[in-house]
């Protein structure tokens, strides 16, 4: 079976593609990107600001134990409902330069849709560095989970 979510990162290129086919009508897929409350739920972050309009801006913030652990923001360059969102993405408090993101939404049938996300990076090295991040995070999260399990008195 083909993977539903695919990541294409050709060697030596400063871009990557994330594609996903959804069992959702196009309008619902787009709504999941448009509605701040829904974005907050599936992204697992607080949506501080989301101005869905050309020249609007957005800001996400994730807190853990009262500390902000992740913060990102950007501007929206294009916003065409049910078609596309073009925006910049900058992670705060890191060396990562701003990224450019092209999100294309298309209908495959009445009940299925597809998202193609193209991300452009300043350099190949920054792209590769970003790809490495969840690996390291995954390790530390797995560790946290283990800690929680070990803390339970019943064990």
């Amino acid at each position: 079976m083909e993977l539903k979510t695919q990541v294409q990162a050709e060697e030596g290129k400063q871009e990557l593609f994330i594609t996903r086919e959804f069992n959702l009508p196009l309008a619902l897929l787009f709504k999941a990107y448009e509605d701040p409350d829904i974005v907050a739920q599936w992204m697992g972050t607080n949506v501080i600001k989301l101005e869905n309009t050309k020249h609007g801006s957005w800001q996400f913030e994730t807190s853990y134990d009262g500390n902000v652990v992740f913060s990102a923001s950007g501007v929206i360059l294009e916003f065409i409902p049910d078609q596309k969102i073009t925006r910049t993405f900058k992670m705060e408090n890191t060396d990562f330069p701003v990224q450019l993101e092209f999100l294309d939404f298309e209908a495959l049938s009445d009940d299925t849709s597809k998202l193609t996300m193209q991300i452009i990076f300043k350099t190949v090295a920054f792209r590769d560095q970003l790809l490495q991040m969840p690996f390291a995070q995954g390790l530390s999260m797995a560790h946290d989970r283990l800690q929680e399990i070990l803390k339970q008195p019943s064990l």
């Binding site: 990162a9 069992n23 959702l24 829904i38 599936w42 969840p134």
Partner: protein, 106 residues
């Protein structure tokens, strides 16, 4: 002595994993790494030494400073890099899909 320093031993320790997370975000000096931890500086130095010995960290002389970088090719020995990244997005999109299916039936 270096023989026992394999990558799996290196990542078995939570502090060392935290160091990898840190350096994955940004290459930095040992001092900068240590400033992120409550542990004594020599303890952190020891961790950095182990990570360097098993080539997960790559030291680079930069004037009087040594900057530590994450060694991507070595990390590949443990896992394909793209897979965790793909998984992260797959999890998010699965959540999105489940959420919107409920939305539809509301």
């Amino acid at each position: 002595m270096n023989l026992r320093r394999d990558v799996f031993q290196a990542i078995a320790d939570p502090t060392r994993r935290a160091i990898l997370v840190l350096v994955a975000t940004q290459s930095m000096t040992a001092g900068a790494i240590a400033s992120n931890f409550d542990s004594a500086r020599p303890t952190v130095s020891k961790h950095i030494q182990i990570l360097t010995e098993c080539e997960l960290l790559q030291p680079q002389q930069n004037g009087r400073e040594i900057i530590y970088h994450l060694n991507g090719s070595k990390m590949k020995e443990i896992a394909d890099f793209i897979e965790p990244f793909r998984k992260m997005w797959d999890d998010r999109f699965n959540k999105l899909e489940a959420l919107m299916k409920n939305y539809k039936t509301k």
